[in-house]
């Protein structure tokens, strides 16, 4: 397996996949900077909560785009070069799928760590109120990663099965928008949509007073059933994607 993963690293050479992650992180950094720029000292006291509420919302769009682009970039080299028919005579088809998933996950991990670095960096520099909430930040990293990997494996499955990469890219974008808008719908509906799990697993809630127009953030309990469901989704999508990839004829 290690050889197959190492070869994914070599295949990605010159593909500038990290650039996509970097650009999306830059967008997130700019947005975070802009969002926090008009906050006064009182607002900054809730800075950590503000970020832990806003970042998952933004992730509904950012992370699916990263997942779609990474999966597509890793798979289209195989379609263009018609390499699956050779690879499948050398290593097990399941291993091809797994190696690509593991290498793709590194990019998703990179993006999640990048977000964490942005939050911690800005929090420390701008002196958000209270100590750094390490527990919540680790929770954020894990939940973001869990949802992102589920979306990534969905994208990878389609990218590996369909040669025309416009199909998975379009699905990824549509999914992201559905995820974002589903946050305005009841939780029951949110749990049916893969892309809305960034919202489901949010650790922070928000109260908005229409009279004073003031917002107040508060810590929320972790949605354990939601976490369980996303794990089930992950297992199902990985399993189905792998089966379809193994069964298809080259």
């Amino acid at each position: 397996m290690s050889a197959a993963i190492w070869m994914e690293v070599l295949k990605a050479k010159g593909r500038k996949i990290w650039l996509v992650v970097a650009i999306m992180m830059a967008v997130q950094l700019l947005w975070a900077g802009w969002a926090i720029s008009n906050k006064d000292a009182n607002d900054l006291a809730q800075g950590w909560l503000f970020f832990l509420y806003q970042f998952p919302m933004l992730n509904c769009i950012i992370m699916p785009v990263i997942a779609a682009v990474v999966a597509s970039r890793l798979s289209d080299v195989e379609h263009k070069g018609q390499t699956f028919k050779l690879l499948e005579t050398i290593i097990p088809t399941k291993r091809i799928f797994a190696a690509k998933f593991i290498w793709g996950s590194i990019y998703m991990l990179g993006a999640a760590l990048g977000q964490l670095a942005i939050m911690i960096g800005m929090g420390v520099v701008l002196h958000f109120g209270g100590p750094v909430p390490w527990g919540a930040l680790v929770g954020y990293l894990l939940f973001t990663l869990m949802v992102s990997l589920t979306i990534y494996v969905f994208q990878q499955g389609i990218s590996m099965l369909v040669a025309n990469q416009m199909v998975p890219m379009t699905l990824g974008l549509i999914g992201g928008f559905i995820g974002l808008f589903s946050m305005f719908f009841p939780q029951g509906f949110q749990k049916l949509v893969l892309w809305s799990y960034y919202g489901v697993l949010m650790q922070v809630g928000m109260n908005w007073d229409p009279i004073t127009r003031a917002t107040d953030f508060y810590w929320k309990a972790i949605d354990w059933p939601g976490l369980g469901l996303i794990l089930v989704f992950f297992g199902l999508i990985y399993g189905v994607g792998q089966i379809l990839f193994v069964r298809r004829e080259v």
């Binding site: 050889a3 197959a4 190492w6 070869m7 070599l10 295949k11 050479k13 010159g14 593909r15 080299v77 263009k80 070069g81 018609q82 390499t83 699956f84 028919k85 050779l86 690879l87 499948e88 005579t89 050398i90 290593i91 097990p92 004829e249 080259v250």
Partner: protein
Amino acid sequence: MNNIIETEGLSKQYGNVYRVKDVDLSVPEGAIYGFLGPNGAGKSTTLKMILGLTKPTAGAITVFGKRVNSKNRLENLKHVGSLIESPSYYGHLTGAENLRIFQTLRGVPKQNIVDVLKIVRLENQQHKKVSQYSLGMKQRLGLASALLGYPKLLILDEPTNGLDPAGISEMRELIQSLPQKFGMTVVVSSHLLSEVDQLATRVGIIREGELVYQDSLTKLHQYSKQHLAVRTLNNEVTKAFLSQNGVTWEAEDDYLIIPQMRDTRMAEISKALGQNNIGLVRIEERKKSLEDIFLELTGTAVSL
């Protein structure tokens, strides 16, 4: 001689249509097996089934004496190199980097990269991106990938497709040298009769998914030897007469086709036919070309 590949009743069906039907292939060790057939006859599908890339609907495949199944497929394929339909490559990487990927995955020594690049004469182009290669160079890189593990069996599907005459000749020389140099058995599919004629020692001809001929190329050539066509006023009596005199015959339209023979022998036969009151109308010399035979077997215009 042992058979490296044997298939029994190999079939592939899509819906009600047979792509490959009851193919019994036998490829002897050390042979260059020419798998000949018009485009769409089922050559690639058959080869893909042997490699396990396509699942057969029915039949069995034996490679190196072992019945191939999903569990031992990759173990068997360790000794098989393949180039199916078109070369597999990563265009954004160099030739050497491409081979590095397949060498690592195959778990063979790094030195093999240097060696196979020499064999396919790409050593001077190895640091160039494959996207900048010509089609001929890509085909040679595909062959290099297939040769990386010095396999006992090499399966090449239309390896000269798209090449210019010089490229075809170069590829042919390369393939021809493999059994002698490395003791490989080579299966080459082609829709070009002339290519198989110049390359193969044994030939299998497939038409609409069915194997219509399989034997040595020498035997196929025998069909194209000169024959005599005899026409008489009573061919039925002539058939019996010829059989009594130990002459083999084959009826074709109004003629009886008999083997070429010495003039004195033919004179004796014609005299005897006259003595038996069988009116001899015509004796002609005939020669079937390989193309005629291919046409008869496949019912398709041959590509030359």
